[in-house]
Amino acid sequence: MEIVNTQTKIKRADIFPDHFGRRKFKNNLFLGAVIFFSLITISFVFLIIGTLVVKGYHQINWAFFTQTPPDTFTAMMAKSSGKIIPGGIINGITGTLYLVAIASLIAIPFGILIGIYLYENSSKRYATFIRDITDVLQGVPSIVVGLIVYLWVVVHITRGYSVLAGSAALAIMMLPLIIRSTEEAMKMIPDTLKEAAIALGTPYYKVVLRVLIPTSFSGIMTGILLAISRIMGETAPLMLTTLGNPAINWNLTKPVSAVPLLIWQFYNDPNMVDLIWSSTLFLMGFVLILNLLAKWIAAKRNL
């Protein structure tokens, strides 16, 4: 009788013993911690954007996008009479776009070609070597890139600070990102697609041009946009290569300004402090849009 009783009376506690409650508690504790820390991380992003908007928005007007910065005396007069600082950062905006455009022209073809090479010959020793070197290049501090370009381009080629030197420095920084993203995007293409093209009697270089590149286009594009948004804020290499320019310049061999360079100049001039925030807001907004665009393209990937 005793034995039968103990067997028939199965309590909930037998199936879910005591430690089940403890597990649940631990689980919730961990979940709570994860949410807490991720909220802190997210809030930093919003705090940064929020601060920039609050401090910078009143400087952003038509003149901000169409005029060059004022001299320090004008800025001081405006400040002391309680007005916003006149002028804008058009020389920085055009300079940044110019530098990025030239850098992309240099880096994108090289990057894509090297990426394709790495994908096609992934196990060859030379490819492994290039891949390692690419990783090293990605780790080179930007100031070092700036110094080297100063030595090679500024001193010997353009004989002075120039757009070309700045673009060369930025291109070197873009290269590893484009190489790796091209290779990764191509790796996502199923081999069967390549075979389909080859089975149609397509010569190999056309398989690359007509199948591999179009199919991995969104991946390559994402990589390019992320690389651009990465180099847009670079300041150190530009200080050593393009220096800055108070006016708009389209001459490749002459110095040019850039938004991050202007931010640094404003920082060093107590009368210009207000322009820091609006310039930073502009830079941040631009980079943010590029990032969102990259994410959107990546999400539309149709593989």
């Binding site: 069967t192 089975a199 009697g201 179009p214």
Partner: protein, 260 residues
């Protein structure tokens, strides 16, 4: 090996003493000789790793994509040695359809059909192109299903439709021979039945060589069957004889499900 002269129709392909090795010493195909007759369906059967896919790929030299391959022997396509032709020309004469449907994801249905022309920069008049697309899609009985969405991406189609699209893409070049590598193994029974009907229909115009894991499929649609085992061509018969009265013990064992 038995003599493989079972043909009633004129031969279009003849394989002569073909051996294919990976890494110099691993023989995937051992001294295979066979002739494939025109306007027939030839099924290649055998257990996994018996070399049937390698043999099929050797017919349009796709096996050369694998690293460290060495090939001896010859294959003749109506008296031309395919190993002396350019692969580009050869592959236009011998089309291929793969195990998994692989339409080009960046191209529309229309462009997928004429992909062979587009990739090779062969310029066609619009009317010619339209005609190729229409006849190729009609040949694979896909026309009625897609004629209103020709400019949608090919990847929106169902698996069976995609596979028929891939067959249409292979047909667009008007090849002599079509090679199919387990074309229905990724498809459901209804889509499979459609493809099988289609293949039987297509043999009026083309010669079809098909690798299949599915013995009943071979029995249903093929005219001649090859049985391969460990890289050797064990038996090559007309399908009825092979399924009712196999000559070799190994063929019988495979067909009755004792191994494979």
């Amino acid at each position: 090996m038995n003599e493989n002269n079972i043909n009633t129709q004129p031969a279009i392909l003849s394989i002569e003493n073909l051996s294919i090795a990976y890494d110099k010493d691993k023989l995937a195909v051992k001294d295979v000789s066979a002739t494939i007759e025109k306007n027939s369906i030839t099924a290649i059967m055998g257990p996994s790793g018996c070399g049937k896919t390698t043999l099929l790929r050797a017919i349009n030299r796709m096996h050369e994509l694998y690293p460290n391959i060495s090939t001896t022997g010859i294959i003749k396509l109506s008296n031309d040695n395919i190993y002396e032709m350019s692969t580009i020309k050869l592959r236009r004469k011998i089309g291929m359809v793969f195990q998994r449907p692989n339409p080009f994801p960046t191209l529309s249905i229309y462009d997928n059909v004429v992909a062979g022309y587009k990739m090779n920069d062969i310029r066609l008049k619009r009317s010619e192109r339209d005609e190729i697309v229409e006849t190729s899609l009609k040949d694979v009985t896909l026309w009625d299903e897609v004629k209103d969405s020709l400019h949608k991406k090919g990847t929106f189609l169902s698996g069976g439709q995609q596979q028929r699209l891939c067959i249409a893409r292979a047909l667009a070049f008007k090849p002599d021979v079509i090679l199919l590598d387990e074309p229905t193994s990724a498809l459901d029974p209804v889509a499979t039945a459609k493809i099988e009907d289609l293949l039987v229909d297509l043999k009026k115009q083309y010669t079809i060589v098909l690798v299949t894991h599915n013995m009943s499929q071979a029995a249903r649609i093929s005219d001649n069957s090859m049985f391969m085992y460990m890289g050797e061509l064990i038996e090559y018969e007309d399908t009825k004889t092979m399924f009712t009265n196999p000559k070799d013990k190994r063929t019988e064992g495979y067909l009755t499900g004792k191994f494979g």
